[in-house]
Symmetry: C2
Subunit: 241 residues, 2 copies
């Protein structure tokens, strides 16, 4: 089975949580809107058309979405819930899958709050138009929210016996945790130094993921887009501390 | 099977999306933290202890969560994904369940943005401490975001052939859509008058849900907590327009 991933070209964004699972498992996929050679724009057009619902009975609200044969699946946690057991990154047991899904949805909540550090007022405005609000937001985010989320994942690894969230076996949410650490290090290098002091098990997951051969190859490839100031994790030094 | 729902007492909040599904389907459940008679505080203590992970190998990050026999399920969309087919409010087909889950996750995204109209800067601060930011946030929310979300659900109903999101059969996300309309009418009565002009199919879902016997009985009962200014949907007239 070859999958088609639809996501904005040029950023890691929310699509990256899906890409990491596809890459780690060596699953074949097309990154449609990025295209190949000169085809990028036609892929992007196709993505926009699907959201508008042209010929699509179940139009997604927003990217990323994944096409698997005839079905289209939107929302990161939903995509990973579907892919997980098929690509060896989730258990098949229902209770375990639901537990993993709850963790992944907590990752999604965290990601939304990261996004809001630079867009606390409106997605439709530029960061430059909401800077005072962003400064206030980022303060509470770095002091309370980020440590709370990471502290939660630390506790989960501790209770599972580690080294991963579910215990001995890696899951797609461990790959997402890698991305959260990488992104936070990029966006808030100073604050992360403090935060990381208390989350050694989370950092150990990050290190293990970084050493996985398929992830290593992916990170070194052109398929891994660099962090930048159009994505979720943005480096605005004035927001860090 | 009797379920135990854990959620903050005193507000509808996110727990309400689960309550509506349990009530509509006539499913037996305990609203643990609200308790019965004098037992409320011990139920709340139990909820807090579960989050702290006392004796719990899989501690939830936040309420609501549902206990079903030995398993504990957190995150609204995840709870409804589990309950749906068991209580007759979701199809059993995998593709349909994933589609419904994507819709429910879009409801969750909408709810988070509603919450942020009164808490754009920090969950840990009072509304009164973030009023200027809330005024700016609410403007974009009412002009763009709320119409965009509702317009999306309108399109989905249209494409399914109606009258519900999935077509002829009601699902748990239709109950959530009812709650979104009710909540928005409570919080932003003026803006909703304008918004509702373009979403007649969404409003028709709201009306159908309101007429269902179990929902009618629930809404008239003491179990339905009134909207108030501690919940997700708050009436602050200065934010409406």
């Amino acid at each position: 089975m070859r999958y088609q991933l639809y996501y904005w070209p040029g950023i890691q964004g929310r699509g990256e949580f899906v890409r990491l699972a596809l890459e780690d498992s060596g699953t074949a996929y097309d990154d449609v809107a990025r295209g190949k050679g000169g085809k990028a724009s036609s892929g992007l057009d196709a993505m926009m058309a699907m959201m508008k619902g042209a010929g699509e009975k179940k139009p997604p609200f927003a990217p990323p979405f994944l096409k698997s044969g005839k079905i289209v699946i939107a929302q990161v946690a939903n995509i990973l819930f579907y892919l997980g057991p098929r690509i060896g990154l989730a258990p098949k047991d229902e209770g375990q899958r639901l537990w993993l899904n709850a963790l992944q949805l907590t990752v999604a909540d965290f990601v939304k709050e990261v996004h809001d550090t630079h867009h606390p007022v409106a997605t439709g405005l530029y960061y430059e138009d909401q800077k005072p609000e962003a400064l206030r937001y980022a303060e509470g985010f770095l002091d309370e929210r980020a440590p709370k989320y990471f502290g939660y994942f630390e506790r989960v690894i501790d209770k599972s016996g580690g080294p991963y969230l579910l215990g001995r076996k890696i899951s797609y949410t461990d790959l997402s945790l890698f991305q959260l650490v990488e992104g936070m290090r990029y966006a808030f290098p100073k604050a992360m130094k403090t935060i990381e002091r208390k989350i050694s098990k989370v950092v150990a997951v990050r290190d293990r993921v970084a050493e996985r051969p398929n992830i290593k190859a992916y990170l070194a490839s052109e398929r891994r887009i660099a962090f930048n100031e159009n994505g979720i994790f943005r480096r605005y030094p004035e927001l860090d501390k």
